[in-house]
């Protein structure tokens, strides 16, 4: 089962739309691989402390922590702080202290590192790459950020690299004719119109931002390329997490298509919270006999009928997804009686994930 998917893999990226149990699945996969003797680190970006608690930790930080999980291997966990990760890169890449401080205190940078869509996703990849480089773990499991669009993070490294592109920087650092020529006609007007519309401050902030970043762009681009290469490497595996709900299944199918298109190594699908298939037949007579109570038997029947209808729909949705997957595998994890939010809960998922 999932152990086979991840055999000889060094990076496992769990992706999927919001609310399908991505974080829980990442934790269960990491715990399962650690139980099988691997030294594993799970990276999450979910700020909810419950995951930390479910791993038996008071909280998680931007450094890995060892999880006392009583496993043959080792399980480490960290909660990614995208802002902190971004700061660390700046600190590493900055040629001198002055530049470093100029970038870190720049308002544009602060906003960018905090909130801009794409930078969280990129930082997750960045940290993944860094840990992989260090080579301290057999396997890294990444719980991808809950994006509006599950695919955002595939494009994130490219997007970020594009916007710290050196050509933009040129326009700011050499605001003479040459810079403007590179950018095409209308640049002079762009500046004057923006000045009118926004006031000088925004431009000044941008200009400082770009000029202090000038020395770092090559480093950033190089890293973005390495991150991209790592994602496409055969040592990486993308695991798609979904629920049997129609919208989640639809998104998973589309995501699968995009992964193949982008040439990324897709391993398989984990479908969470699947209702078990319901046997055929009408149990109402036997229920009445067993329970000796018509009203109670009817209540049980009613619950059962609802369950049956939902289970049938789960089957249909997953069958449709399976068709789109071709030969790629799918693992079904049944709906467990309560939320999984502790180590025993994660262990219960193990038997389904690892078969």
């Amino acid at each position: 089962m999932i152990g086979d998917w991840l055999e000889r893999k060094e990076v496992c990226i769990c992706a999927g739309s919001g609310g399908v149990g991505k974080t829980t699945t990442s934790a269960a996969v990491a715990l399962g691989m650690a139980a099988r003797g691997k030294k594993v680190a799970v990276l999450t970006i979910d700020p909810a402390k419950r995951l930390a608690n479910s791993l038996g930790l008071p909280e998680l930080g931007n450094e890995e922590r060892c999880v006392k999980a009583d496993v043959d291997g080792e399980l480490w966990a960290m909660m990614l702080d995208p802002k902190r990760t971004f700061d660390e890169i700046v600190e590493r890449q900055a040629p001198d202290e002055r530049t470093r401080d100029a970038v870190l205190s720049n308002r544009i940078y602060q906003e960018l590192s905090n909130a801009v869509a794409g930078s969280q996703e990129y930082m997750a990849m960045e940290k993944l790459h860094e840990l992989h480089q260090e080579g301290r773990y057999d396997l890294l499991v990444l719980d991808t950020p809950p994006t509006r669009n599950a695919l955002d993070f595939i494009d994130a490294p490219k997007k970020l690299a594009a916007f710290i592109d050196s050509r933009t920087l040129q326009a700011f650092t050499t605001p003479g004719v040459l810079g403007l020529k590179v950018l095409g006609r209308g640049s002079g007007m762009v500046f004057s119109v923006l000045k009118r519309a926004t006031g000088l401050d925004l431009l000044e902030d941008l200009s400082t931002f770009f000029s202090s970043f000038a020395g770092m762009t090559e480093g950033f681009r190089e890293r973005a390329e390495k991150v991209n290469a790592l994602l496409a490497d055969s040592r990486s595996a993308f695991v798609l997490v979904t629920s049997p709900r129609a919208d989640a299944v639809e998104e998973a199918g589309w995501f699968h298509h995009r992964l193949l298109e982008a040439g990324l190594p897709f391993a398989g699908v984990v479908a969470n919270r699947v209702r078990p298939a319901v046997p055929k037949g009408d149990p109402s007579t036997e229920l009445t006999e067993l329970l000796g109570d018509d009203a109670l038997a009817r209540k049980v029947m009613r619950t059962f009928e609802e369950e049956r209808r939902l289970a049938a729909q789960d089957r249909r949705n997953l069958a449709a997804l399976r068709k789109r997957l071709g030969r790629k595998p799918m693992i079904e994890v049944p709906h467990l009686d309560d939320d999984v939010h502790d180590l025993p809960g994660l262990r219960r998922m193990d038997e389904f994930l690892f078969g």
Binding site: G19, A115, R148, A197, G199, L290, D337
Partner: protein, 294 residues
């Protein structure tokens, strides 16, 4: 304080996959029943609202289009906006200007709730927004105040400050959160409410917990169900389903209680619809239920 649906702008957010779109559509129907002219806006780009409520006006906000529109408005010139929007430098700048996409998106939504400058009246009484999930929604709601601070002078700063004021005015803007009766969505709901208060001094008007299972069995009844064993597999499956559904329902009710204790906003629950796809009549039932409970 005006009631929720008497406000001009209602933002619906929540953790991914908790039924934001359903809640937005149900609120839209409720407002329409009261004779309001409603516009439903989708900003997450999955375009499900027109299918769900075909009789209501729906708008899907595309950040790129909104950017062009915003430019035209800022520059008061279509040609200039065209030149600028097509410029590579401008594209770099807008990509680099943090939160601009969020700003123009919320700006577009805000605009739908304003008085038309030409006619002097509003086109819609209330704009209901099917907003992105909590993290993105917070970034979106924060973007006007960020921009107002960064662009201190000029029309952009002024425009952003105006939007920011309306968003923070509880008479103008309401925030509704959708949730599910599960651990993680409940946590995220509580955290979002706190973050909204901390960052923007805004409150949440109501929390709607979707898909709550009914607790059908009394303790003593459950004991009897557990005590027997079905001979045929189908009978045993029915008995097991009753037990596990009951446990699930009990767990869910505990989560709702936890949410009620931790949240400041009133919490309304909607029953689980036992249909594979949410049909029209179910949506109407949920909408009526929601109206009653808010």
């Amino acid at each position: 304080m005006p009631a929720l649906l008497d406000k001009r702008l209602v933002i619906v957010t929540g953790k991914g996959g908790v039924g934001k779109t359903t809640v937005a559509a149900a609120l839209g129907l409720a407002a329409a029943r009261r004779g309001k002219r409603v516009v439903l806006c989708e900003v997450a780009g999955h375009d499900r609202l027109p299918e769900l409520v075909p009789e209501l006006t729906t708008v899907s906000v595309d950040p790129e289009e909104a950017k062009q529109e915003w430019l035209r408005y800022q520059l008061r010139s279509r040609t200039l906006a065209g030149v600028l929007g097509g410029s590579r430098l401008f594209q770099y700048l807008t990509a680099a200007a943090p939160g601009l996409s969020e700003l123009v998106t919320i700006g577009k939504v805000w605009d739908l709730a304003q008085i038309d400058r030409r006619t002097g009246s509003t086109v819609f009484d209330v704009a209901i927004v099917d907003a992105p999930a909590t993290g993105h929604a917070l970034a979106m709601l924060r973007s006007p105040s960020t921009f107002a601070a960064v662009a201190r002078v000029g029309p952009v700063g002024r425009h952003a400050a105006t939007i920011d004021r309306s968003l923070r005015n509880p008479k103008h803007t309401g925030v509704v959160m959708a949730a599910l009766p599960e651990e993680m969505p409940v946590n995220e709901t509580i955290e979002f409410e706190r973050a909204l208060r901390r960052d923007l001094d805004m409150g949440v008007d109501a929390i709607v917990v979707n898909a709550v299972h009914p607790v059908r069995f009394r303790r003593e009844e459950l004991k009897r169900v557990r005590a027997v064993t079905g001979e045929r597999p189908v009978t045993q499956a029915a008995l097991s389903a009753a037990v596990s559904e009951h446990l699930r329902a009990r767990g869910e009710h505990a989560q709702v209680r936890r949410l009620r204790r931790a949240a400041t906003a009133p919490v309304a629950t909607l029953p689980r619809v036992f249909e594979p796809e949410l049909g029209r009549e179910h949506l109407e039932r949920l909408s009526a239920e929601l109206e009653r409970r808010l």
